[in-house]
C-alpha cells in the first residue's frame, strides 16, 4: 500500500513542478497577437488560394492589420461587402471595386476543332503544351487536360464532357485568378462581371493568319476586322490577327456579335434576341480599317 502512495506522491510532485515551469514559461514568452487578425481570418474564405499574393489567408489577415491602408491588398475571393468588413476591422477605408469573373476564351469544341492526333502523355495541359501543340490543329486554344479545374480552389470550373472545354460556374467563381495562372495557353481572362452577368468577348486566342486559323477551327478569329468597324465605342482592337474586346469600353451593344463571320464572339446571359431589324445605318467608322480588311 505504501509504495502506491509513494508513487502517487512522487508523480504528483513532478506534475506540479512541471506545471509551474510551464506556467512561468508561458507567461514569460507570451506572444501578443492582435485580435483583429483572428477576426479577419474568420471572414476570409480559408481556401489559401494565394490570389492575394500572400502565402495564405492568415498571412493576408496579418498584412491587412499591419498595413497603413488597403492599397494593393485585396482578397480576390471575397465579395466587396466582405472586403469592406475586413477594412473596417483593420481600420482602413476602402473603395468598392468592380466584380470580375473568369472567362474561358476558346470555343474549340470537338465539333469545331476536331482532333488530328492523339495525345496520351501525362494528363496535364502544362505537360501537353511542353510536348507539342496538342491534339488539334490549333496552337493557341484549349488543350483540354483540365489544369484550370485542378487549380480552382472553389470548385467553380468543370470540364464539359461534350465539348471538352472548361466551363466556369459564375456564381462560384471568385475571380481569384488561380486558373488564369494555371493555363499554359493563357486562354482564361478575368473580365468585369457587368449587370446581370452579361458579357461580350472574343472567344478565341488564335493569333495565326486567317486561312491557317480557319483551317484549324471552325470558330477561330481570323482577324478580318469586321467587328472593329462595327463597334461604335472603339472597344475592339485587332492585333496579331486577333480581335480583343476591352471590357472597360464595351457597352454590350452586341453589334460585333452579329457582324462576326466566324461566330467567334460570344455574348452570354442575354435574353433571346428579337427578329433582327433591317438596319442600314453605318456605325461610326473607325479609321485605319483598310489594312485590316485586306487581311
Amino acid at each position: 500500500m505504501a509504495f502506491i502512495l509513494t508513487a502517487v506522491l512522487v508523480l504528483g510532485l513532478i506534475g506540479l513542478v512541471l506545471g509551474l515551469v510551464l506556467y512561468a514559461v508561458s507567461r514569460k514568452f507570451k506572444v501578443e497577437e492582435d485580435p483583429r487578425v483572428g477576426q479577419i481570418t474568420e471572414l476570409l474564405p480559408s481556401a489559401n488560394c494565394g490570389g492575394c499574393g500572400f502565402p495564405g489567408c492568415a498571412a493576408f489577415a496579418a498584412a491587412c492589420v499591419k498595413a497603413e491602408s488597403m492599397d494593393g491588398l485585396k482578397c480576390s475571393a471575397c465579395k466587396s461587402e466582405v472586403m469592406q468588413q475586413i477594412a473596417a476591422i483593420a481600420g482602413h477605408a476602402i473603395e468598392v471595386g468592380v466584380e470580375k469573373v473568369a472567362v474561358v476564351r476558346c470555343s474549340g469544341s470537338c465539333q469545331n476543332r476536331p482532333d488530328l492526333r492523339i495525345y496520351d502523355g501525362a494528363k496535364s495541359c502544362a505537360a501537353a503544351a511542353l510536348m507539342n501543340g496538342g491534339a488539334t490543329g490549333c496552337f493557341y486554344g484549349c488543350l483540354g487536360c483540365g489544369d484550370c479545374v485542378k487549380a480552382c480552389k472553389f470548385d467553380a470550373i468543370s470540364m464539359d464532357p461534350d465539348t471538352g472545354l472548361p466551363v466556369v460556374d459564375q456564381d462560384k467563381c471568385t475571380a481569384c485568378g488561380a486558373c488564369v495562372k494555371a493555363c499554359p495557353r493563357f486562354i482564361i481572362e478575368l473580365r468585369n462581371k457587368n449587370k446581370m452577368d452579361r458579357r461580350v468577348y472574343v472567344s478565341c486566342v488564335n493569333k495565326d493568319k486567317g486561312p491557317v486559323a480557319r483551317k484549324a477551327c471552325d470558330v477561330a478569329c481570323i482577324g478580318c476586322g469586321k467587328c472593329v468597324k462595327a463597334c461604335p465605342f472603339e472597344a475592339i482592337t485587332l492585333e496579331n490577327n486577333l480581335a480583343y474586346i476591352d471590357f472597360e469600353k464595351c457597352r454590350l451593344c452586341r453589334k460585333c456579335v452579329d457582324e462576326c463571320p466566324q461566330h467567334s464572339i460570344s455574348a452570354v446571359n442575354f435574353p433571346p434576341k428579337k427578329e433582327p431589324k433591317p438596319q442600314a445605318e453605318e456605325p461610326a467608322a473607325v479609321q485605319n480599317t483598310e489594312s485590316t480588311e485586306n487581311k
Binding site: 502523355g121 501525362a122 496535364s124 502544362a126 505537360a127 511542353l130 510536348m131 507539342n132 501543340g133
Partner: protein
C-alpha cells in the same frame, strides 16, 4: 568490358539498318531551315526574301554566345521567312528556300578526297568550326565551338569520342564509322590539337563488332587514339554515363561540366562534321539519318541535306505504312513525336522512326506501387517516382531539392514502370519549371 555503374536498362536493339549502306537522298524542291536548331539563342537570319543563295551560303548568324550559324544546304532563292511546325511540335520561325540547281560556294571542297594537311592554329580551327555552324550531332545540338573552349581552370586530359549509339533502331553513327573511318581519325586529331592533349578514346558498344574491328585495325597506324569496346547498356551514349564507362570518373551534379573531371565528349558524327568544316571548308549542311521501323518497307541510312522535309525521306523508304501509329524524330527512347511529315530534317535529326499503331498507344496508367524499379533504372541515381509526384502537385521546391536538374531525360524510368506511369512527361515539366525558376533567381542576383 567497361560500362557505367548506376542504373540503366536493356531495350531491344532493333538495329534493322546496321548493314544498309549510306545512300544519298535527292535534293528537295523546297528546303526549310528553322532558326533554332541548337541549344541556346535562335540564329538571326542574314538573308532576305528574294536573295539568291548557294550551297553553303550562310543564311543565319548566331544570336548570342551560345548559338550557331545556319547555312543553306541547297542553291536557289529565299522564298520567305515564315513559321513552321518543327520537330518540337511548336510553330517556330524558319527560312524557306526554293531549290534551283545545285551550285556550291566555290570555297567548299566537295570531293571525297581525304585531306590530311592541317597547318591551322588552334584559334583558326575553332573559328572554322564556329563559322561552319557545327553543333553536337548526338541529339542535344550543343554548339561545338563552345564545348571545345572549356573553362580555363579545368585541365582536360581525355577526349572521348561517343560512338556508342545506345539508342535502339538508330545506325547512323555505326554506318559512318564503317564508311568514313579515316575522316573520323583525322577529325579526332583535329580536336586533340584544339584541346592540346594526346589521349583520345573512341567508345563503341559491343553490338557493333565490325566497327570495333575496323577502327582497331586503323589504330595501328596512328598513336594517341584508343578504341574501347563497351558492354551494351542504355543510356551509355549519355555524356556522363560514357565518361564513367571510359574513365571511371563521375561528373558532379550541375552546374559542374564534364570538363570539371577532365573530359570532353564529342559524338562521332560531330567529329566527321568537324573534319569537313576544318579541312574541307564545308559547313554543316547535311547529315546521316536512319529511316527505320518494324513495318517500313525499305529501312535505310540516308545522307540528307538539312531542310529536306521528312515526307521525302519516308517516300524513299517505301512510304508511310498504313498502320503507323507514331512518327518519331530520333530513337524510341529519347526521340520526340512529330506532328506530321512536313517537318524538315534539322541538325539534331538522327533518325526517323515509324512505330506501328499496336505498339504506339500507351496503355492505361495505374497508381504507383512503390516498387522502386524506376529508382533502380535511373542512370543518374535519382528517384523518378518522387520527382513525378512533386511535378504532378506543382511542388517545384521538392523537385529542385531532389536534383531534378540532373535528369538527362533518357526515359529509363518510364520504360520500366509496371504501372505505366508517364514519369518522364512529369519530370520534363518539372525540369522546365525549375529551370525557369533557377534562371529567374540567377537573373535577380
Amino acid at each position: 568490358m567497361n560500362t557505367f555503374t548506376i542504373g540503366g536498362v536493356h531495350p531491344e536493339p532493333n538495329k534493322l539498318t546496321a548493314d544498309k549502306k549510306i545512300e544519298t537522298l535527292a535534293l528537295p524542291k523546297q528546303a526549310v531551315f528553322p532558326l533554332s536548331q541548337h541549344i541556346g539563342a535562335p540564329a538571326v537570319p542574314c538573308v532576305q526574301k528574294g536573295d539568291t543563295v548557294r550551297v553553303g551560303t550562310r543564311i543565319a548568324e548566331p544570336g548570342g554566345f551560345m548559338s550557331a550559324s545556319i547555312h543553306s544546304s541547297v542553291s536557289g532563292k529565299v522564298a520567305r521567312i515564315d513559321t513552321i511546325v518543327d520537330a518540337s511540335g511548336l510553330r517556330k520561325p524558319a527560312i524557306f528556300i526554293d531549290v534551283e540547281g545545285d551550285e556550291w560556294e566555290p570555297s567548299i571542297d566537295n570531293s571525297d578526297k581525304l585531306v590530311l594537311q592541317n597547318n591551322l592554329s588552334r584559334e583558326e580551327i575553332i573559328d572554322r568550326i564556329k563559322n561552319a555552324g557545327v553543333v553536337g550531332l548526338g541529339g542535344a545540338c550543343f554548339p561545338t565551338h563552345v564545348k571545345l573552349s572549356p573553362p580555363k581552370d579545368c585541365v582536360i586530359d581525355t577526349l572521348i569520342i561517343n560512338a556508342v549509339e545506345c539508342e535502339p533502331y538508330l545506325t547512323a553513327d555505326h554506318r559512318l564509322m564503317l564508311e568514313h573511318p579515316d575522316e573520323i581519325i583525322v577529325g579526332v586529331k583535329i580536336i586533340q590539337k584544339v584541346l592540346g592533349i594526346d589521349r583520345a578514346v573512341i567508345g563503341i558498344e559491343a553490338n557493333k563488332p565490325d566497327a570495333i574491328e575496323l577502327m582497331q585495325s586503323k589504330m595501328s597506324m596512328v598513336s594517341g587514339i584508343e578504341v574501347m569496346p563497351l558492354k551494351m547498356k542504355y543510356p551509355q551514349g549519355g555524356e556522363k554515363q560514357l565518361i564513367e564507362a571510359v574513365t571511371g570518373r563521375q561528373v558532379p551534379p550541375p552546374p559542374a561540366l564534364p570538363a570539371n573531371v577532365g573530359c570532353v565528349v564529342q559524338n562521332v558524327g560531330t567529329v566527321f562534321a568537324i573534319y569537313e568544316a576544318v579541312l574541307k571548308n564545308k559547313p554543316l549542311i547535311e547529315r546521316i539519318v536512319t529511316v527505320t521501323g518494324k513495318n517500313v518497307k525499305n529501312p535505310c541510312n540516308l545522307k540528307v541535306r538539312l531542310g529536306t522535309p521528312v515526307s521525302q525521306l519516308l517516300e524513299y523508304a517505301g512510304g508511310m505504312p498504313e498502320d503507323t501509329g507514331k512518327l518519331i524524330s530520333g530513337g524510341p527512347m529519347m526521340g520526340r513525336p512529330l506532328m506530321d511529315d512536313t517537318a524538315p530534317v534539322v541538325k539534331g535529326t538522327s533518325g526517323i522512326l515509324l512505330i506501328p499503331e499496336s505498339d504506339a498507344a500507351r496503355r492505361e496508367e495505374r497508381n504507383c506501387i512503390r516498387c522502386a524499379k524506376c529508382v533502380q533504372a535511373c542512370p543518374m541515381g535519382l528517384e523518378p517516382y518522387l520527382l513525378a509526384t512533386a511535378s504532378e502537385q506543382s511542388d517545384w521546391e521538392c523537385a529542385e531539392e531532389n536534383w531534378i536538374m540532373s535528369c538527362i531525360e533518357c526515359g529509363c524510368c518510364q520504360s520500366t514502370c509496371p504501372s505505366r506511369r508517364p514519369l518522364l512527361d512529369w519530370v520534363r515539366l518539372a525540369k522546365n519549371r525549375v529551370g525557369g525558376i533557377i534562371r529567374a533567381r540567377n537573373a535577380k542576383n
